[in-house]
């Protein structure tokens, strides 16, 4: 596979927080349209890894190329890569001073310089897709957690990214709201967008993932199709992990 056709290409990448090494020699290639679930015990560096992909975190060694853009420490225009990479956070992070519709419109207007009318049209399209167009004029605090997370997905999609990153999107939700968010994500996965999800939702992984990546102590120690990963995990840490969560 030619490197230019890769959505994401990471090689020999390491990251430190001061003296503490959080990621060690990460190698990972993701093709466009691929859906990847990243799992592993807490503190294994999963979130840090995907946060490196839109330059919310800087890596110190190795290389990361996202949609043809090389990321490096202190890079000048990280917003360029962020416009092709959408991100959904564990704690939603909607803008509390803006309505749902404005949350979806503002980034399009400012980052993509779309007209008001066009931004509004796109926003409504994606709010309909996540099935909450009727909440458009409310403020985030008036919505349930599940609804807020769906808005966050819509807000990211409004930028029409090629790649979507999910950082434990259901971990902060009450149990009864997890499925509405997962359903939205499954629907999105089936649309063919490139997805990287840090999640412990193994049902979701089985259903949509092309590959499951297992991380431990800052390294990728197993990477396999979900059927193989769940039925015959190779690494003892992976076996132990699956034993705990399944």
């Amino acid at each position: 596979m030619n490197k230019e056709n890769l959505a994401i290409s990471i090689s020999g990448m390491s990251k430190w927080y001061d003296d503490f090494k959080v990621l060690t020699d990460i190698d990972l290639s993701v093709t466009f349209g691929e859906r990847i679930v990243i799992c592993g015990p807490s503190g294994s560096g999963k979130s840090t890894l995907i946060r490196c992909l839109n330059h919310l975190e800087e890596h110190q060694k190795g290389s990361i190329v996202v949609d043809g853009i090389e990321l490096y420490p202190g890079m000048k225009n990280p917003e360029l890569v962020r416009r092709t990479v959408g991100m959904v956070f564990q704690s939603f992070n909607l803008f509390p001073h803006l309505t749902i519709l404005e949350n979806c419109i503002l980034p399009q207007r400012r980052a993509l310089k779309r007209s008001k009318e066009q931004a509004r049209e796109v926003a409504m399209k994606f709010l309909e897709r996540v099935k909450i167009p009727e909440q458009a004029d409310k403020y985030p605090r008036q919505l349930s957690g599940g609804q807020q997370q769906r808005v966050a997905i819509a807000r990211a999609l409004c930028m029409e990214p090629k790649i979507m990153l999910f950082d434990e999107p259901t971990s902060a939700l009450d149990p009864e709201m997890v499925s509405e968010v997962l359903d939205t994500m499954i629907e999105l996965a089936l649309s063919g967008i490139t997805m990287l999800c840090v999640t412990h939702e193994m049902g979701f992984a089985r259903k949509v993932a092309d590959r499951v990546i297992f991380m431990d102590t800052g390294q990728i120690i197993e990477s396999n199709a979900p059927e193989t990963f769940f039925s015959q995990p190779k690494h003892p840490r992976a076996k132990e992990f699956l034993g705990q969560i399944l």
């Binding site: 956070f89 992070n93 980052a111």
Partner: protein, 225 residues
């Protein structure tokens, strides 16, 4: 000032009239310090949180410097020291306005930086993640949220500025304080310090108290929303 004379008699009416007319200069100086200091403070705040290390250092140094120098010392330096040293003439209003602007800007930027820093980092990250630049993120996501938090303390600080202007009398700025002192120093019967200064205090109070009520009200509003 006929109204005052009718109300308080010719002597006190005249005195109060003089004090009130001097109060205008207290208000002018307060407004100049507030807007000058606010504008400069805003720039410093942006410097202070900007990604550039040099700008951050500059702002930090500036704030340290002007928070560590007593306002009175600044007034002396600008109103007496600089003119003597450089053999130039700086009118009292300019010296007083500059000193108060420097003083105000350092404090205001600290208030505003505090408000900006109280916004959760998740908001910055969400703004970055949707492709906003640092300035876009600051202007459209962070500042509007911080603004609501900072309003009460900003209004509260206006009170400090108004009271601070009273020190400008020391470099001959013709404000309420200076006229109060001038009248109190006169040998006229009925213009003794214990008569004049309470009146001066009452005028300062009537400038500050409404602001203090307003700040309280805004604080309550911010809490309820």
């Amino acid at each position: 000032m006929n109204f005052m004379e009718n109300l308080f008699g010719p002597f006190y009416g005249n005195m109060i009239g003089l004090l009130l007319s001097a109060t205008r200069y207290t208000i002018y100086l307060s407004l100049a310090a507030f807007f000058g200091g606010g504008l400069l403070g805003l720039i410093l705040t942006v410097f202070k949180i900007s990604p550039s290390r040099i700008l951050r250092w500059f702002a930090t140094g500036y704030i340290w410097l002007f928070q560590s120098i007593p306002l009175l010392m600044l007034l002396f330096l600008l109103g007496l020291g600089v003119p003597t040293f450089y053999q130039i003439d700086i009118p009292p209003w300019l010296a007083a306005g500059t000193a108060l602007t420097l003083f105000t800007s350092a404090y205001m930027s600290e208030v505003w930086r505090g408000a900006l820093e109280s916004i959760p980092t998740g908001q910055w990250e969400a703004g970055k993640a949707v492709g906003l630049t640092f300035m876009q993120n600051l202007c459209w996501i962070i500042a509007p949220q911080a603004f609501r938090i900072a309003i009460p303390s900003t209004v509260g600080f206006m009170i400090q500025v108004i009271k601070g202007t009273s020190m400008a009398y020391i470099i001959d700025y013709d404000d309420l304080m200076r006229w109060g002192k001038r009248i109190a120093n006169s040998q006229l019967d009925g213009a003794e310090p214990f008569v004049v200064f309470p009146i001066v205090a009452l005028i300062y109070f009537s400038l500050c108290f409404p602001l203090s009520l307003w700040a309280k009200h805004l604080e309550k509003q911010a809490r309820d929303s």
